[in-house]
């Protein structure tokens, strides 16, 4: 049964058929017909943002916390170009999004019309796939294909550009089950022979480590469950990238903490010293590997990834397994049990003794103060006072992001939303709203720095309008902290443009938006202030004035291997590689 309808109605119908409940968007001339259709129905909720970049980050937060695709609707020209940062962010972090953009009418394309931009040209390198639909008859099919491509294989953002005349014209609606399945069908089942090779390596390994990433989260909750089973069955130590936090619980006994540039000592040294590295859904990012030549020099490496181009891209591996993490882990466990596999008990016991020695260094130790709030202390208190609650955390980008990753524990997947690959300042506030829209009753906190937060602060208006009680926990050091840290360590303490002057009064700002503002600068008042934030029924802007010159450690200076990690300010004295900095 096909039904004839306008292109605009087709868009709304296709979204409904895809099970879309929420669209984040901003109207404009070239999408008015679609907004008219949205007005005349009640199934899809439209969240009016304050800037198109905010819409895309909200959709990312929504997608990351639900496993469903996030949907965005914006107008042509500036609407589309404002979405570009969010699209690039989603591409880097493999977040499924369907972005619909209006376009000038087909007969005007190429004439430099009002609010015309070459949207598919501009977004080609920052989407997984995009389409310009010039014929209403192909519109519904294209939207259904867009959802297919966004979700299948390695997820990512897709964009459908819809000229205004295509929205007005009528054609037959092609329902989901009648859509020609695109040839795009990535392989999800791993090669059993390669998996058998991995299982053999796991049996003999003396110093194994599981190195997990965002792919575990993208594969779905089942993958996290299987990862926990595998860790329990083998007793292997496990670490994760920034993107993979929560796939293995922070309270789990095999957990080493995050790895990488600001990762934990024990995690990075385990990576450096292991004899078998099993990469599960991570991509050997440069923030993880440091200097490639010295990256884990004595290990056999296996890599499980749904994207074949991730395998051997930067680090050559001994066993490459292309497939969905969940399906591959299920097969690994099946073979492990079927063979009655045992680990190398003696080797593993020795390895754990070594790891426990590294743990004993307590690399996250910092010098606390009774007069100034240390950012680490603020996060420790936030962690303690929210323990046991089903809590969703988003972050902006910088020092606070790394401290949040170090000091907050994640017990479950989909609870941690951060901009990893692109490092987009201004991500956290809109992302927190997207999470809150998806989980209206949950506790959603954006751990922010004041500089990042200001980049998309207009979205507080969205939070107020849609009653999203997001908590903005701003670690305010009046500095671009991470930039300042690099300038201190690597650019002769010349602090070029890295301090925040003329900051707003955040409490008054909160009042101006109509929400609650809290300011805290004394460690003694911190617990009460945090409780006040948690107890308030509505959005809160929490201005937490912290130590201005705190540096984030551990730190692997870039271009250095994992075993040349700096543990604290004392280590930065003199040349990198001197006694204070060289470890192991």
């Amino acid at each position: 049964m096909t039904k004839s309808m306008s292109g605009a109605r087709m868009v709304v119908q296709a979204l409904k058929d895809q099970g879309v409940e929420v669209v984040f968007g901003y109207p404009g001339g070239a999408v008015l017909p679609i907004y008219d259709e949205i007005f005349q129905q009640n199934d899809i909720r439209h969240i009016l943002v304050r800037h198109e970049q905010g819409a895309v980050h909200m959709a990312e937060g929504y997608a990351r916390s639900t496993g469903k695709p996030g949907v965005v609707l914006v107008t042509s020209g500036p609407g589309a170009t404002n979405a570009v940062t969010g699209l690039t962010d989603a591409l880097m972090d493999s977040i499924p999004l369907v972005v619909l953009t209006g376009q000038v009418p087909t007969f005007m394309i190429g004439t430099d019309g009002f609010q015309e931009a070459d949207t598919v040209g501009i977004t080609r390198p920052c989407t997984k796939m995009n389409w310009l639909v010039k014929d209403t008859a192909k519109l519904s099919e294209t939207i259904h294909q867009a959802f297919h491509v966004a979700m299948k294989g390695r997820p990512g953002p897709v964009l459908v550009d819809i000229p205004k005349d295509v929205q007005f014209a009528t054609a037959d609606y092609v329902p989901m089950d009648k859509v020609k399945i695109p040839h795009y069908q990535p392989k999800t089942v791993g090669d059993p022979d390669q998996i058998a090779r991995l299982v053999e390596l796991m049996e003999s390994a003396e110093r194994p480590v599981l190195y997990t990433g965002g792919g575990v989260i993208n594969s779905g909750p089942k993958a996290s469950q299987l990862l926990r089973e595998l860790t329990a069955a083998t007793d292997f130590p496990i670490t994760s990238t920034l993107m993979g936090l929560g796939s293995y619980p922070a309270s789990g006994k095999n957990w080493l903490g995050m790895l990488g540039m600001h990762g934990l000592y024990e995690a990075n040294l385990a990576m450096h010293g292991c004899d078998l590295m099993i990469n599960i859904g991570a991509r050997f990012d440069d923030r993880i590997t440091g200097r490639i030549k010295d990256f884990s020099p004595r290990s056999k490496k296996a890599h499980i990834d749904i994207d074949p181009s991730s395998i051997n891209k930067v680090v050559r591996v001994d066993v490459g397994i292309v497939g969905d993490v969940g399906e591959v882990l299920a097969e690994v466990l099946r073979q492990w049990k079927a063979r009655g596999s045992r680990t190398n008990k003696d080797g593993l016991a020795k390895w754990w003794r070594q790891i426990n020695d590294w743990r004993a260094v307590k690399c996250l130790t910092y010098k606390n103060s009774t007069t100034t709030i240390k950012p680490q202390y603020a996060l420790e208190r936030l962690e303690a006072l929210t323990k046991g609650r089903d809590r969703y955390i988003t972050t902006e980008v910088g020092q606070h992001q790394m401290w949040a990753a170090q000091f907050l524990g994640f017990e479950d997947p989909n609870r941690w939303m951060t901009s990893g690959g692109l490092g987009t300042m201004g991500y956290g506030l809109p992302a927190s709203i997207g999470v809150q829209i998806a989980h209206p009753d949950a506790l959603v906190i954006n751990v922010a720095g004041e500089a990042s937060w200001l980049m998309n602060m207009q979205e507080m208006g969205t939070a107020m309008q849609f009653r999203a009680p997001v908590k903005q926990f701003i670690l305010n050091n009046e500095r671009l902290g991470m930039v300042r840290q690099w300038q201190e360590l690597l650019h002769g303490e010349r602090y070029s443009s890295s301090w925040s002057e003329s900051l707003p009064d955040f409490v008054k700002l909160a009042e101006a938006f109509g929400c609650k503002g809290i300011k805290c600068s004394d460690p003694k008042d911190l617990d009460d202030a945090i409780m006040q934030m948690l107890d308030y029924d509505g959005p809160v802007i929490f201005d937490c004035l912290v130590e201005k010159h705190e540096n984030c450690f551990p730190m692997i200076p870039s271009g250095k291997p994992h075993n040349e990690m700096l543990l604290g300010d004392a280590d930065t004295q003199g040349v990198i590689g001197s006694k204070g900095a060289v470890l192991v």
Binding site: P125, K128, G153, P182, G290, S558, G559, G574
Partner: protein, 186 residues
């Protein structure tokens, strides 16, 4: 706190490791890429090469299956073996790409290019150009009293060789199609 004593300009100054970890032998490979013949597909493929810093030595594209809307893109590229593998993997994961063949790695292949040469000259030079064209099995497709246009099909090396010979004889212009290639046998 004392600043780190790092030599200015060393890669430690960068957020990235600036050294090429894979400085090794460069190979030339010919890739055949079967794609949906839709708008923007060539821009997508070329954008991959420019965006990721891969080389294109030669590129040809044309529809080869009208009913199935398929085009064949033949790309001659160069890089280390790891880069070539990466190019193939990056092409393979693009949505409108159906198939990728590394004709260099998969076995013997035939590679042909068509070229047109405009040669101007009089007297002995003109005669010599014609004789050389015969040796190279180039066809005369246009002639005036002062010029010829030769058409030749062959490997890129053969076309280079012919061009070298024509240069002193009055070569004015060359138009080349780029390489088209097929694997030998079935």
């Amino acid at each position: 706190m004392a600043p780190l004593n790092i030599k200015k300009g060393s890669s430690s100054h960068s957020a990235y490791d600036l050294r090429d970890p894979n400085a090794e032998v460069i190979e030339q490979h010919t890739l055949a890429v079967i794609v949906d013949n839709e708008s923007g597909v060539l821009a997508r493929v070329i954008g991959l090469f420019s965006g990721r810093g891969y080389n294109i030595d030669s590129l040809t594209v044309a529809e080869v299956d009208h009913e199935g809307h398929k085009s064949r893109i033949t790309i001659v590229t160069r890089g280390t073996p790891q880069v070539i593998d990466q190019i193939e993997a990056q092409l393979r994961r693009m949505v409108p790409v159906h198939d990728v063949h590394d004709l260099t790695a998969e076995g013997p292949s035939v590679q042909r290019e068509l070229a047109l040469f405009k040669v101007a000259g009089k007297g002995a030079a003109r005669v010599e150009a014609l004789q050389l064209a015969e040796i190279f099995r180039a066809n005369v497709v246009d002639s005036t009293l002062e010029s010829f246009v030769f058409e030749m099909t062959g490997t890129p090396e053969k076309i280079d060789a012919f061009a070298d010979l024509m240069r002193p004889l009055g070569l004015l212009e060359i138009a080349r199609t780029g390489v088209a290639a097929l694997a030998r046998g079935v």
